[in-house]
Subunit: 777 residues, 2 copies
């Protein structure tokens, strides 16, 4: 058994727990209950910390700043591997092929078993990667495009003189004047229109590689005394290319790019590879085309070769196996060349999971964050098998999970709760899944054993319609869809069917349609990336509270205004952390971390500010209150009470007012955004877009969320969402079922109508699940 004692990470209350090794262990509990704090924050963090400490002084040096978690003891815990959703920040260079290591195999296949043009020399596998010197197209250095400056791009208006700003790419202000003065000192005519200057002179000014230094006698400007100085000239091309390739500022680089002409590389035609590599084919296709095929198609193409002897058989069989793992996890529609940043977090995690099936790791603990995210109920069974395979290979599997079908398949269950935040943080049950039947306090029990009846679809009557016509995008081809306004519409379909794509098309159409007011996307991205944003700033509550403090007698006596009580204003905040409450720690190769401020210890304010009290509490004390505690404290302040009530209604009463944005889970952030909307004045004619909003939510949380979405509709808004969660689908007024499959085999509208109609008429995979769910009511 893996045993933890005295776990106190985040809201965990001195937790003791024992879970078996060599098993699939599910961690459940409502959002904010502390299940991630236990599975990731305690068990995984401790395992990682220990192993890296032991494994190498190098790793230790690298991770020096990573603190051990707050736990008295953890025993029997093997080294762990986390496949987490939230933290995964794939680099823009990585792709499905690189993450799954299939790119390497494909390159080896082309290198060793490819068909070469007659007489061509065999190429090394590196020659098939645009990211190696051996493989990069020599013309564009593997970029696929050429960046050039031309006279036209640098001097868009040749009727201007140099003094009038002919060289548009020159920086403004002093630096531009400097260049002009230097050209003057070099004897160029600053006042003739550019087009009248001799060609050779124009060429030199724009393109010379020389960097002459001359003494400049600046032109007098009224009221300024300017001395002669030595100035160095650089050509316009030189300056632009330097800014483009060397500047560390995004803005500067973007500005420079505006003066570059970009053209597809004439040698590799954008394929980034050297021509010799592009001439090698397997099964008739060059590597670029193989990598562009959806995994399922590629697998079908390779299949006939897998029985061959020698490297061809070995390599294609290995690839086919890995491709099959993608398909099993519902990712058969992805191509190897798909860039990692375009994947959803659920897709990315399942891609990593599929890759682990072939990693050969033994004796480790995999810790997963809701691997069912984005997965259609039809694919849940395959997910359960995959987890069982990792276990059969000699590992343990810990999953934080909300999908009851996956939870039911686990060997062991740890239920955390009963509530969220300070109301949670205890282990209610740890044992075989069935034992949870007897645990009265568990919010999970009900959903696991007696799924509550879904409130029926109200079948609201639309107030209008948003017409999407001829949508052609990703896998949607010339699709027509009507989105009814003033009701709740859900888009269904397997992963890759085109749900997100349809949401994107609706957003664009709504922006151009006068019958829609605002378009608001409510997603699970953080409220902010720094501790400077928090619940109180995001909801406007802090503004209300600051005024209360500024109105106290002592504040007025001292002349402290409301600004003084903002930690974003210098006068009142802690000077060390500048009001962040924490200090940013840059870690090499690791995401930035935040350490508590050594001076204000997280209070964010300077000592003088903290001398002002409102009803006996300092501003820091108030920010430390939970929503539930603040509600009575501020009950008589209408502006505050309204916000607090809505926050309680969306189930966030346990959050602290000053809880920094980075500490909130995706589900919590989503509900804060919803609360802000519910509190918002203008809700009618608003279109709310939500992409799989129940991701990361316990079924109990999904119930709360569903109720809030209907409140928005009741207030006159339109809700359009993509979703798999059946209890939410059942309440929708209208469904749009996409399918039948993912990728090229999806993207069609199979059925539309009320849940009952779609369940009865659609040929897609959602219908039977929906029908079963509706019957169970």
């Amino acid at each position: 058994m893996v045993r933890a004692r005295g776990a106190r990470v985040h809201n965990l209350r001195d937790v003791a727990v024992a879970v078996p090794r060599g098993a699939v262990v599910a961690f459940t509990g409502v959002s904010g209950s502390g299940k991630s704090s236990l599975a990731f924050g305690t068990l995984f963090a401790e395992a990682q910390h220990r192993y890296l400490e032991s494994v190498s002084p190098y790793a230790r040096r690298l991770l020096r700043q990573m603190e051990a978690p707050l736990v008295d003891s953890v025993t029997g815990m093997p080294p762990a591997v986390a496949l987490e959703q939230r933290r995964s920040v794939p680099s823009s260079r990585s792709s499905v092929g690189t993450i799954s290591t299939m790119s390497n195999l494909l390159r080896m296949l082309l290198s060793r078993c490819g068909d070469y043009p007659a007489g061509a020399a065999r190429l090394d596998s590196d020659a098939f990667s645009p990211n190696t010197p051996a493989g990069a197209c020599p013309e564009c250095h593997g970029q696929g495009v050429l960046h050039r400056v031309t006279e036209r791009s640098l001097v868009p208006d040749p009727s201007l003189s140099i003094r009038e700003g002919a060289v548009a790419s020159w920086p403004g202000a002093w630096q531009g004047k400097n260049l002009r003065d230097i050209l003057g000192a070099l004897g160029h005519d600053l006042d003739r229109p550019w087009r009248e200057l001799p060609a050779q002179e124009r060429e030199w000014i724009l393109f010379t590689e020389e960097q002459p230094v001359v003494t400049v006698h600046p032109e007098r400007e009224p009221g300024r005394i300017q001395r002669p100085y030595r100035g160095k000239y650089s050509s316009a091309r030189r300056l632009v290319l330097k800014a483009f390739s060397e500047s560390r500022s995004e803005a500067t680089r973007a500005k420079a790019a505006a003066f570059l002409e970009q053209s597809p590389c004439p040698v590799c035609h954008g394929h980034r590879l050297r021509p010799e590599a592009l001439e090698v084919t397997f099964a008739g296709l060059p590597i670029t085309e193989l990598a562009a095929l959806p995994a399922d198609r590629l697998a079908a193409l390779l299949h006939p070769f897998t029985a061959q002897e020698g490297p061809t058989g070995l390599l294609t069989a290995d690839l086919a196996d890995r491709l099959a793992a993608l398909r099993r996890l519902g990712l058969g529609y992805l191509s190897l060349d798909r860039a990692a940043p375009t994947l959803s977090t659920g897709e990315l995690q399942r891609l990593r999971l599929a890759t682990q099936l072939r990693s050969g790791l033994f004796g480790v603990v995999y810790v997963l964050d809701e691997p069912s995210a984005g997965l259609h109920p039809a694919d849940t069974e395959a997910l359960r098998e995959v987890l069982a395979e990792l276990r059969a290979a000699g590992n343990s599997v810990f999953v934080v999970e909300h999908d009851m079908a996956v939870v039911r398949g686990a060997d062991w269950l740890v239920d955390v709760g009963p509530g969220a935040g300070a109301g949670g943080g205890r282990v209610l049950y740890s044992g075989p899944v069935d034992g949870l039947r007897d645990v009265a306090g568990s919010a999970t029990r009900r959903f696991l054993f007696a799924p509550p009846a879904a409130p029926p679809s109200r079948g609201r009557t639309p107030s209008g319609v948003l017409r999407l016509r001829g949508v052609t995008r990703h896998n949607l081809h010339d699709v027509d869809v009507d989105v009814p306004l003033g009701v709740l519409t859900a888009v269904t379909g397997v992963s890759g069917a085109g749900k997100s794509t349809l949401l994107g098309a609706a957003a664009d159409a709504a922006a151009a349609d006068p019958s829609v007011g605002r378009v608001v996307t409510v997603d699970q991205t953080p409220l902010g990336r720094t501790p400077r944003s928090n619940l109180a700033t995001y909801t406007g509550l802090l503004d209300v509270v600051r005024k209360l403090f500024a109105a106290t007698d002592e504040a007025r006596r001292r002349g402290y205004d409301a600004g003084r009580f903002s930690f974003n204003v210098a006068s009142g905040r802690c000077p060390t952390c500048e009001g962040a409450g924490a200090i940013e720690v840059e870690l090499l190769f690791l995401p930035t971390a935040w350490n508590p401020c050594p001076d204000c210890h997280g209070s964010r304010y300077n000592p003088q500010t903290l001398e002002i009290a409102y009803r006996g509490a300092t501003i820091a004390d108030v920010l430390a209150l939970t929503v539930d505690a603040a509600a009575p404290f501020l009950a008589d302040v209408p502006a505050a009470a309204r916000v607090l009530t809505v926050l309680q209604q969306v189930g966030l009463g346990y959050l602290r007012l000053g809880q920094p944005a980075p500490e909130l889970s995706g589900g919590e952030a989503q509900r804060v955004k919803l609360a802000a909307e519910l509190h918002h004045a203008r809700r009618d004619r608003t279109l709310y877009l939500l992409d799989e909003p129940t991701t990361g939510l316990h079924p109990a949380d999904s119930e709360v969320l569903t109720a809030q979405l209907h409140r928005l509709v009741d207030a006159g808004a339109t809700v359009l969402l993509a979703e798999h969660h059946l209890p939410l689908l059942a309440t929708a007024d209208h469904l749009v079922d996409l399918g039948p499959s993912g990728g090229a085999d999806g993207g069609r509208v199979l059925a539309t109508g009320t849940p009952a109609v779609v369940a009865a008429t659609s040929t897609g995979p959602t219908a039977p699940y929906l029908a079963a769910h509706l019957r169970s009511d």
Copy 2:
């Protein structure tokens, strides 16, 4: 079971092996047989590679260049932790305390439980570390010393004028002249003696923070035309401090340091800590004094507190436990402040091993490289217990080991052999230790089950004596020892007794004694750090072979001289790798690695050079021969034959002539050095010093080594060595037994004389082992 199939790392010949998990597994075999290639190169490397690949994209990026080992499959292998001797390169900032993590505990103890001066504020534990801003002495920034420039240090001879070079710290050549010219331009008198310049002027020249820019009209020098230029002055202090703190060149920094006066910091007196921290004590001592105590003394001091309630009891008990682990592994004499680079590799590995006892790791495989190195037979039992504890904590332990007492205690034995290099690389046996009895081909069997009789001490008569008198160094206090010349003397005693210290004293005494000719230290350090040094270059064999190639008809026709056949000369070598045969790869945070050269594929030569053949072989072919193969090939070339014969005699017939120095193990390097000495002309009156020469050697290798050492003595040399290996000790002419313990409890001469005399008369721990060994003969 952990199973490997098709292992082909280095000399491994398609090895298949299965070893149990949860066991202590010993890997044995003669030096060069391939046991490290199997345990470290295959099993550990594969486990590490897989885990880091899975654990994080960051780690993967970092280790991109680290290739997977050559093996078809490894299954059932958990993540691994290597405690290896060879690669451990501790940073100069680390110490026994930081490696063992005890420094942190000690700081927490002082911070929370220390005695503070009346009224003093409690300090954070960081305040007790000179490496943190909170703890560093503010005067010397935690350096313990102050570096200052003074007029005296910058101008050692004030009778000189500036032109004559008064400012000694000025750089020479152009830069010095430049500074002088600037001072001239600024109106200073360059020809008055320094001491006659006004004080204010001297002060300005040496110490000003200003950096004025002036136009310099350089003094005419005959034959050179020099134009006026703009020069910037920097004071002498500024230049020296800049060079000292910023230059990346060691030499420049050393030069600058010569102009700095270094004085102990008057605030912390060299203790590097801020005064407030030094005033806090525990058990009456400040942290600096606690850290300077040997582990055993510190444990005794803390013992009375371990039973207390609260943090004092917890922290002291934790420390006491960790200190006990040091003692068990024979390291009780080390203090926490002992700098890591002063530890022997054996001490360092055992320190890491002791630290692992408290790491809490579970389910990993520890891979150790001869943990018995440097350990007295009396401490072997404790080492076996420690390995068993790691196993009992849920781990597997793989040890490459030569000490038969440790091997006998293992649960499983993998014997690799039968010979070395191409003559080895097979698994002769894998199973419970006792099963090796039936394996005829094993070199290990004999030593494990029927230790061969030691050849008796010949008790040679000394030809003279080297007198050490009043030796006071480390733990030796006023010790007198006579080292007899012309015989083999061994120094004995537990780890830390003072053996190495005595060897150092003997080296110094010998250098001053005319009866000793050369002093040669034969250690296990690499022959060279780059692939440019190899067996053939080190032994001079390459010089002989180059002449053979230059003397061929074709070489003479083309005018290729002997230099052409050196890969260190531009004309003949591969231009890509410049003759290294490999390309250096810089890895962030990792030791530098070498990849094979893509152009010459390791042959090191350019194609033209390889067109010359001697007896049908190119120079690259010859360098690829093993010593055994080269012996008949070059039998008729006396200079080559001599070297090759000696290499065969020291048991290195399996090495390739061109085998790069970094590929040789410590034991192999040591034997190459011995071979070079045996081949050397002037051996008489030479004093050979060897510190535990049997480290890393199989008992069969130690037999060969012992014979070679006696050959040196027979040729008139003196051999003085420190050693634990009983079969070697038994052959010594003379023993010096130090003890009785390590550190302050050691350093005394307990007995001297023949092995029989010392075994009978010494009160130290070596005597009973030696007596038993002599009896067994």
